[in-house]
Amino acid sequence: MLFERGQITTYRDVDMARVTFNEDLCKGCKLCIDVCPKKIVVIKDDVLNKKGYHPAGVVEMDKCIGCAFCAMMCPDCVITVEK
Amino acid sequence: MGKRILMKGNEVIAEAALRAGCRHFFGYPITPQTEISHYMARKMEEIGGVFLQAESEVAAINMVYGAASAGVRVMTSSSSPGISLKQEGISYSACAELPMVIVDIVRCGPGLGGILPAQCDYFQVVKGGGHGDYNLIVLAPASVQELYELTVEAFNLADRYRNPVVILGDGYLGQMMEAVEFRDEEPIEKGNKDWATTGHGGKRIHNVTTSIYIDPNVLEAHNRKLQEKYKKVKENETRAEVVNCDGADVIVVAYGTVARVVKNVIKDAEKLGIKVGLIRPITLWPFPTEVFDKYAGVPKGFLTVEMSSGQMVEDVRLALNGRNRVEFHGRMGGNVPTQKDILDIVRQMADKQ
């Protein structure tokens, strides 16, 4: 298969914050990417979700400060943030 | 029953609505139905109901749509051009199955036309002046007393079938005064309104009022549901007054004010030895087809008389489906067919082989 399928992906850092992406809701609009002060949100080029989009996700999770900017900017309520 | 009071048709409609439990009225002024608004404006403020003069007929019908969504008994009222402006809202209301009462006191048209009585909005109201497949229940009173009774009934029908109901009158009916006798208490049947959007209060999932169905199969299913409902209305609610039809030579078909003129003609014709019957449809939709089955064989045929160029006559023809001749006589422009003219035609028909 060329692409992975979308899923609910939780990124966890025990001390800091936890973000969860409901990937099948994501439309790959990238708005979450620009607002992340830590620049750790990226588009997962190798994943294709149910809707046919490449969803966003987080790399270098340990840098996340749980500011929830990504979630506030996301037009599709993809992201849940815990801290 | 109380005592007989002299009242104007328009005011009786308003009073009847109040008696039927209507506490919400949204309208926009237009002759010849303004007295409804005037009466409502005064009474609603006195009893704490809502009278609101909308900025237009378009707004008025949509306010009615909103109030009906909230489950209250609600009415609007207008005349021909105003009813044209309400067509989109009426189509929405029919699709969303909202109970409401719409009064159309018809004036002569088309265009700005005149303000005298007419029946030239039959097609608009009965066939569907708005877009899409829908039906309104259309009641056509012919006296002030009947304006009262049918207005009360209109609210019951609206609730019973979750459907807009139209009172179709003409300028004379609205403007004339006659004695009316009010019941002490009205036979109010309130439908189940658990579909209403009143705020769910955390007690149920959200209610939605809508008229859009993007999936063609879902919309078609909704269309079929509406058609089923209309069938039920047809079976249960068809009404007509039948006068003098058994053994008649000629049957005249007329509604509203015109039917009253025909009642005079019946007497005149009797003097000439002609027996004239009258079928007066009280429900214009559903049209009282069965009555026509019964009298289809009347020897000298049918005469439809209207204040129009010939609209209801199509339903008469459809009802008879070729089983008898159907003549037509119409006046327009605010003129009412005269006793004499109708009598002349009836006489000619009776004379013919």
Binding site: G66 | S56, A59, M63, A70, G199, H206, V208, T209
Partner: protein, 248 residues
Amino acid sequence: MAIVFKKPNALTDKPFHYCPGCTHGIIHRLVAEVIDELDIEGETVGVSPVGCTYNNYEYFSCDMVQAAHGRAPAVATGLKRALPDKVVFTYQGDGDLAAIGTAEIVHAATRGEKITTIFVNNAIYGMTSGQMAPTSLIGQVTTTSPFGRKPQLHGYPVKVSEMLATLEGAVYIERVSVDSIKNIIKAKKAIKKAFQVQLEGLGFSMVEVLSTCPTNWGMSPAKSLDWLRDNMAEHYPLGVYKGKDLEV
């Protein structure tokens, strides 16, 4: 660890059907968050417009009524007059509110109708594929101004907030934007205030939200935010147009 951000309760689970990056989604969420915070979901009836958000009755979990194009303020008036103790809001696009529905919004405002309007100005007709809206900017290319909006042919963009602010019945009118975190926070405050104005029975309240339409603007979602900031916000200055000193 506690949840610091999740989808508000006043939104259903149904995923939005909007285009990628369309800020209608953000605005929906803000309205829902305010409903949650004021704890009024059960007392609220919303009115959906005709536009891309025609079916947002599927997204808001309060009772909802879908209105004809432009007539949401009239429908809301009917609802509110029938349910004076409930909270009634309309959610409308700029075609819906500023074109076909002009009379209805002007009169709801001047009547001081106790409703709240969320007015989403994206300077275009989204749903019907990118026609010029009354709010489209001068020079803006749309499917019905293919050579750019020209004042001599197409007239000038309507400033709705400024116009409605001239009406006595309108007690709170603010223009906000959702192009940045800062502005999203402000937008939410404004929406909350607008609902509070209604809860206190003060009169008509409206929040105009500058929003994007990446699809019909023909830009990426990120570029769209830039265009909003650089062009729209300039013609449509953010700020409070009525009720500056209003305390709720």
